[in-house]
Subunit: 109 residues, 2 copies
Amino acid sequence: MNANKLPPEALELIAARFRVLGEPNRLRLISALEQGEKNVSELVAETELTQANVSRHLQTLTEAGMLGRRKEGLNVYYFIADKSLFDLCELVCSRLQKELAAKVASFGI
Amino acid sequence: MNANKLPPEALELIAARFRVLGEPNRLRLISALEQGEKNVSELVAETELTQANVSRHLQTLTEAGMLGRRKEGLNVYYFIADKSLFDLCELVCSRLQKELAAKVASFGI
DNA sequence: CTACTCAATGAGTATACGCTCATATACGGA
DNA sequence: TCCGTATATGAGCGTATACTCATTGAGTAG
């Protein structure tokens, strides 16, 4: 948000990126891949989502450049391609914790 | 995303936060407030959105704890309450620039 | 109190998107 | 080649949400 007059197309690009992250199940997939690459079946087992649903979310994440794909025989392995994801989530998490702490404190006394 | 088994409610909270940012016009409002607090009329003039629309987006942003409100007579002034917004956008922007640069390079040779 | 201004909100519409079922595609083994 | 397994995708449905118009609510000035 540095540039003072970001053109609409740029804003749309940025927003699109946030939108991809605005879905809990996609965050779940990202989180699951934090430990390392996994194939679709593993992700389905771990998240308990349907295979079709996992596939679609992985597609969304991959198109956004956040994940990478690697085929190995029948299996397709996905992995985190954008390490800045962790920084993003870190920022949001710490902010949420701060807000939660404030809420707790306001009840405390 | 540090914790390995973030509970679903936490993921929903994080996702909700990203979703709020996943709308170009809301980013526009945030961007407009970067210079300092502004009232609704000023934001309407600057963004060329309808007053109703601006009002709703401001509500969304305020409920998410990202903006603050201050009434002064008839006017209501909004301001950035969550400074980490800038870090978030910075991260996304720099990542997008990197991707764009890569795309340009791949056409270069 | 009346009239005016700024901001918020109820109602309605259009669109985006997450989900599922069924099917297609891709690949490996017999 | 024929079958089975892993993943992707078309079609359809239901919900969420961005937008607008009209109205209301809050505050000020006359």
